[in-house]
Symmetry: C2
Subunit: 123 residues, 2 copies
Amino acid sequence: MIIVKELGRHFIFELFGCDPKALDDIKEIEKAMEEGAIESGLTIVGRVFYHFSPQGVTGVLVVAESHISIHTWPEFGYAALDVFTCSKDTDPMGVFSRMAELLKPASNSVVEMKRGIMKEGET
Amino acid sequence: MIIVKELGRHFIFELFGCDPKALDDIKEIEKAMEEGAIESGLTIVGRVFYHFSPQGVTGVLVVAESHISIHTWPEFGYAALDVFTCSKDTDPMGVFSRMAELLKPASNSVVEMKRGIMKEGET
């Protein structure tokens, strides 16, 4: 039997019905992402946070284990959150929990994608 | 009938069998991503490029339309490339083509995910 193994795990979160004010607060979003990254056991090596006019935030933390990104649409109460990690020790729920605490989504979903699937023996 | 509409399109590329030397060349990767972003009609607003020891590159371009990211594993000939855009005018193949020209994957795949799906009338 061939057992597949992946190089990275990519968690794709959808957050609906969020607090519009929190979705537009770039400072609090950066703080929460940083705290969530640490909570998830990630090591931050770079960052870009950008506030759009008239509203909306994009934030990216580049981590030693890959990246975390968020894009927010305050006018629709929506945020797209991604946690991509090459570490088997990362608990992505640390990031999600901290962001959900800030953004207060009414509903959410997550899909985990395996990235870089290799056959046994290749990894 | 309810027609669904999305706020963003997220293209998830898997590149296998790439040139290991190109996968470790941070300068050429940054140049190709920048050229690809422009080719795809994206507007760059921020960037982080990071070279890992002993090898591997992470690169993120934050664009007005969302983001582009790449993570490379030269030791496995693999790159994970993401193009997330909220613009209906973005052609993600501009980024992919430029990166493929540099990295020369033997095989590749792409998945398009709709992000922030709203019911008609909500968007």
